[in-house]
Amino acid sequence: MPVLEGKELRIVGFLCNWCSYGGADTAGVGRFNQPTDLRIIKVPCSGRIDPLFIVKALMNGADGVLVSGCHPRDCHYSEGNFYARRRLEIMQKFLPILGYEPGRFEYTWVSASEGQRWQQVVTEFTDQIHKLGPAPKIVGPEASDTLSLMQAALK
């Protein structure tokens, strides 16, 4: 089932199991309303996230990617989010050269108790992606397939 045409954009979240996934659960338990665009992939630790997953998601058609882990120093594995912070930061700074607007990908820290913060993060990020609109998509085998679509869109 594709995203709800016109209503939703495709937003992928990578959340660490110990803090942010729990934070999202806490938000759920607290019935904190959130936009429906985001789909969450659970990983054990933000340090597990290869930044290339983010690129893969974008190139495969995601409009936005959100990563969330434990606050620095609170990592369940003590160091995972410190590595993650460096790697995610560098990828975030890199993406614009490929033609993805800054803001398509964000990362943040949310603890298991911060349900409200999670609600805020999801709401703001979804809003941010909707403001940017759909991300450029690569279609078809040849560059011309995509380029002609892009040109058509400009007209």
Partner: protein, 319 residues
């Protein structure tokens, strides 16, 4: 070159203790050089030092683990050696480094552009300032500065940073002290859709030969690159520009904080795709965020393999 004979002498001295020394010699036409493997006395004479020696010979080192290898390096190549040593991909005890003052190498694409057709080069005479290339009996005079590789124009490490033998007089560090990212910065100013379209158009002609990776001295996965593996299955074998671009992102990211910008990826590309820019972008950010440059200090750790509890230059989004 003045110190060529001196270099040969050093190699002659070191060779008995070594399995092989890697340098350069002439190739299929006078405009090209090729890596030259010196196994014995008889191979030494062919060695030539010239601005045609584009190849970064450090590329061969990780594949020769366990052998005693001598390697002749330009300043930029020596940074690859440093990075390899730093990552313990080669052992200092096994390699002997021959350094010399490098005044820059020639970019063949620029020569091609300047002359037009270089299929049949009959001779190529080089001086400090210029070169005269004779193609089909017609001489073409070119200023060296016009055809110098881009990386050489802003070179900050003309002398090998690490060497066991250094021949010739060291060149003092040239200005500018900061890497030159002017072209990159120009590109970054384009509209997002233009940037996006640019890469698709450029990567479209990629033939997935992966010479970019094979020529990279720091692509050490070699036979186990994830470009062709199914577990993990990052890329499909389908003919699509998406996977071609994805591979370049993978390469750039795997090089983040490790790339010394030797430019071999782009030079090796048989269809001249400007992929170095992606690595430059990564390096620019690495410098910005971590104040780090790869292959300069033996004791460094690549920034993505380490961390600080407090990162001075990372400002996280405030939600």
């Amino acid at each position: 070159m003045k110190f060529q004979e001196e270099l040969k002498e050093s190699i002659r001295k070191a060779l008995p203790e070594l399995d092989v020394v890697i340098g350069w010699c002439g190739s299929f036409d006078p405009l090209h050089a090729t890596p030259h493997f010196i196994y014995g006395e008889e191979d030494i004479e062919k060695l030539e030092i010239s601005p045609l020696n584009v190849h970064n010979l450090a590329t061969y080192l990780p594949g020769m683990r366990g052998k005693k290898v001598g390697v002749v390096v330009k300043g930029c190549d020596s940074r690859s050696v440093v990075e390899l040593l730093q990552e313990k991909l080669i052992s200092r005890d096994d390699i002997t480094i021959f350094g010399f003052p490098c005044t820059g190498v020639i970019d063949q694409s620029k020569v091609k552009k300047a002359i037009g057709y270089v299929g049949n080069v009959q001779s190529c005479d080089m001086s400090d300032e210029s070169l005269v290339v004779v193609v089909d009996d017609k001489p073409h005079s070119l200023k060296l500065s016009e055809v110098l590789a881009e990386k050489c124009k802003s070179c900050r490490y003309p002398d090998a940073i690490i060497s066991d033998y250094f021949v010739g007089d060291r060149i003092a560090k040239k200005d500018p002290a900061e890497p030159n990212y002017k072209e990159l910065e120009k590109f970054e100013k384009l509209a997002v859709s233009e940037r996006f379209g640019y890469w698709l158009k450029e990567l479209d002609r990629c033939i997935r030969c992966y010479a970019c990776r094979s020529a990279c001295p720091l692509c050490v996965c070699r036979d186990h690159c994830i470009a062709e593996s199914r577990d993990p299955h990052w890329l499909s074998q389908e003919n699509n520009v998406r996977d071609k671009l994805m591979f370049q992102v993978i390469h750039a990211y795997h090089m983040a904080g490790r790339c010394t910008e030797c430019g071999e990826c782009q030079r090796a590309c048989p269809v001249d795709i400007p992929i170095l820019m992606l690595k430059q972008k990564m390096n620019k950010e690495v410098l910005d965020i971590f104040n780090y440059e790869a292959g300069v200090n033996l004791k460094d750790t690549p920034p993505l393999l380490s961390f600080k509890m407090e990162e001075e230059n990372i400002t996280e989004k405030d939600w």
